[in-house]
C-alpha cells in the first residue's frame, strides 16, 4: 500500500511517500501501527483532529475500512483558493 504525506505531515515524517505492508483493516488501525514505529510518526499523528485522510484520492475518515485501498494520504485541512 502506498502512503502519501503532504504539507507539515510530510515535513514531520520526513518523506513524501512510502510503501508499506500492513494488515490494518481500518485507517485508525493503520495510524496506530504508524505511530508505534518511531517518534516522528507519533508526533505527526498525535492530534487526529488536525489531520485529514484520503483513500485512493477521495476524502474519507479515520473509521473507514482499507479493503481494496491502494493509496492512503494524510494531510492537514486544505487551504486552497
Amino acid at each position: 500500500m502506498d502512503i502519501l504525506y503532504f504539507a507539515w505531515v510530510r515535513e514531520r515524517i520526513g518523506l513524501p511517500k512510502e510503501k508499506i505492508e500492513t494488515k490494518a483493516e481500518t485507517v485508525s488501525q493503520l495510524v496506530h501501527e504508524l505511530r508505534a514505529r518511531e517518534e516522528r510518526y507519533e508526533v505527526a499523528f498525535s492530534d487526529l483532529s488536525a489531520l485529514r485522510v484520503a483513500l485512493d484520492q477521495e476524502l474519507s475518515d479515520f473509521d473507514a475500512p482499507l479493503t481494496g485501498v491502494r493509496e492512503v494520504a494524510f494531510f492537514p485541512p486544505m487551504t486552497g483558493g
Binding site: A7, L59, A73, P76, P77, M78, T79, G80
Partner: protein, 147 residues
C-alpha cells in the same frame, strides 16, 4: 468545462475573453481571481503552494460538476496554480457562464467555498524570519453549510 492545475502564470484577460466565447445563450459571465496577499505582517517574500497531483484534478472536477448540476451554467473554468508565488501574483481563477446573472454569481461563490477546503492545496508563507503553513479557518468550513 475546463480545469487546469498548473505552475505557470495564466493570462486573466485572455482566459476571460476566450471563456464561453461563441455561446450566445450565456448572458452573464462572472470571474473571480485570487491573488497572493500580504496582510499579516507586511513581510511576506514567497507563498509556496503544495498540492496532491491526481486528487487535485479529481476534486476540482467533482466540485465543478456539482456546480453544473445545481445551477444553469453554460460553462465553468477553474485554474489553480501551485509552486512558488510572490505577493501580488495571481493564484487562481474561476469563471462561470450562465443565461442568468444569479446562477453565475452563486455558482462562482460555491466553487470558491469548496475550493478553499475540499481541494487538496496547502499554502506555506515564507518571510525573512519564518516559514509557516497557513492554517485552515473554521469559517471556511462553516461557509460550506449554506450550500
Amino acid at each position: 468545462m475546463k480545469i487546469s492545475v498548473q505552475k505557470e502564470p495564466f493570462d486573466l484577460g485572455a482566459e476571460a475573453n476566450a471563456f464561453a466565447d461563441g455561446d450566445m445563450s450565456n448572458g452573464a459571465i462572472v470571474t473571480f481571481t485570487g491573488v497572493v496577499r500580504d496582510l499579516a505582517h507586511g513581510d511576506l517574500d514567497v507563498m509556496e503552494i503544495e498540492h496532491y497531483p491526481g486528487m487535485t484534478e479529481k476534486a476540482l472536477n467533482k466540485i465543478a460538476s456539482e456546480a453544473q448540476e445545481r445551477w444553469s451554467l453554460g460553462d465553468v473554468l477553474v485554474i489553480h496554480r501551485h509552486g512558488r508565488l510572490a505577493p501580488g501574483d495571481q493564484i487562481m481563477m474561476v469563471a462561470t457562464a450562465s443565461p442568468h446573472r444569479k446562477d453565475a454569481f452563486e455558482a462562482a461563490e460555491f466553487l470558491m467555498d469548496y475550493l478553499k477546503s475540499r481541494a487538496p492545496f496547502w499554502k506555506k508563507e515564507f518571510t525573512g524570519k519564518s516559514a509557516d503553513w497557513v492554517a485552515a479557518k473554521d469559517e471556511d468550513e462553516v461557509a460550506l453549510n449554506r450550500w
